[in-house]
Symmetry: C2
Amino acid sequence: MDSLKIFVPATVSNVTCGFDILGFPVEAPGDIMTFRKTTKKEVRITHISGADHLPYETHRNIAGIVAQKMLEDNGMPFGLEITLDKGIMPGSGIGSSGASASGTAFAVNRLLDNPYTDIELVPYAMLGEISASGTRHADNVAPALYGGIVLIRSYEPLDIIRLDSPEDLYCTIFHPLVEIKTSDARAILRKNLPLDKAVRQWGNVAGLVTGLLKNDYHLIARSMEDVVAEPVRSLLIPDYDKLKPAAMDHGALGFGISGSGPAVFALSRGEETARKVREAMTRAYQSTGIKFNTYVSRIAKQGAKIVS
Amino acid sequence: MDSLKIFVPATVSNVTCGFDILGFPVEAPGDIMTFRKTTKKEVRITHISGADHLPYETHRNIAGIVAQKMLEDNGMPFGLEITLDKGIMPGSGIGSSGASASGTAFAVNRLLDNPYTDIELVPYAMLGEISASGTRHADNVAPALYGGIVLIRSYEPLDIIRLDSPEDLYCTIFHPLVEIKTSDARAILRKNLPLDKAVRQWGNVAGLVTGLLKNDYHLIARSMEDVVAEPVRSLLIPDYDKLKPAAMDHGALGFGISGSGPAVFALSRGEETARKVREAMTRAYQSTGIKFNTYVSRIAKQGAKIVS
């Protein structure tokens, strides 16, 4: 195999109560990436579309960083030319950097003849996340690699579990086109959590996981509460208070911030409800004058995949 | 029905990472309680055995407090004489007060012809816990009422879910005969939790619940870690550091403090391993000179039950 074209999906991380431990991919949007082996043993980013300010320098580009490290660890058997067609807008909160990182890890592994298991690819993909946000988190890259709802039980040692989830769980993503830096969204979080709030959060985490595994929509709905990040991060998202009631009043099971925002998401039972939720959020937001993108998709069972 | 004799089991709460939200009953030890209707419309504790210092005054006795409130809320249709035969030593950390409270709630409901569902009984039983420890917690009384591994997802509103768990999950309880007040065990906890520790705890909670629901013993084992209470509460338990390695080196899936201690517990796959774990802890503790009780039991599928 000398070249590879892949699709790598956007991902929703945190999933309300599952701060830093839960995430899932959607079926769209996503990035298209191509990888072409070269005899010159260097990694080059040859084309970027769909994003204005991503760097071409290998050591500053997320895909470049991940590919370079993987090839070096394997004796640099070949070079690579990489193109990125970003369907996921950087800074959206739906795993744009995670997609570049995990897509690269996925593709380079294939081009190397699969020396790595999925869990072994996660640390490579996380290198990209560190370069993008300064934090070592896997709740975008692991779902983008594994597909389905993914639990990162532990970071040290890395322990990742793919959770079964109901077939007809749909996600509505609403992305207001405003900028929030991941580092700002991190900084606004309290470094310490009152014990009672922590107990409330892990009670909800246990409820959400149970609801997903048992196809219990009522329990999923009751458990989708975030007392840790939402109270502060929602302040960074203009008119958050218009979006949440719009979604919840139109049948969403739950609503929260996607990653560190500004994108928000709702889960619904069935595509029809997910579309109604999108319409309701759209109506509620029009008066703000802020532009936005929306997406409705099933929770994707597959993460990164080969297109050709 | 004019009288009732019931058995109500000891319970292990917290279950390592599930601080304040998880608990389960064992098959033994437990309390025997009798309830006899009287025409004189008052609640009297007429006999207590197995515990030296429990008060007989209705308004100071946990069973008395719960029964009095339930009868008052139902127009005091009859009086009660209650006897307690405590198989669960008060102050052990395996739900002694919780058993008195939940056993009373269970029995009085039957004598009233079942006006309450299980979840409606929990707040009555929690009244007893408040009087015993000053805190409003349900992770002993809910398992003693429901049976099985019980999740208290939320306290406000109260939301309780019974989790399926593997058939051959056995519990070894080791109770050093030293005194720890629940209020002291509460006071020693930090009121605030660093965010990274909280994330680690709820990652483990999600893993433990997933392991239980999917019969995944390896995942159960990996998830049985408590970074919140164990680091400080273990300091109150003499020679905790002898017990834990003894259990883990002899095949236990996991080990932790039962409730606020001093009892500790281990979960094992199969009764034989649970017995070996008991032997290992016994050997490890003999040099301390501290007396102790031990119990080996399956996780009980049923909580309080009618004996006759």
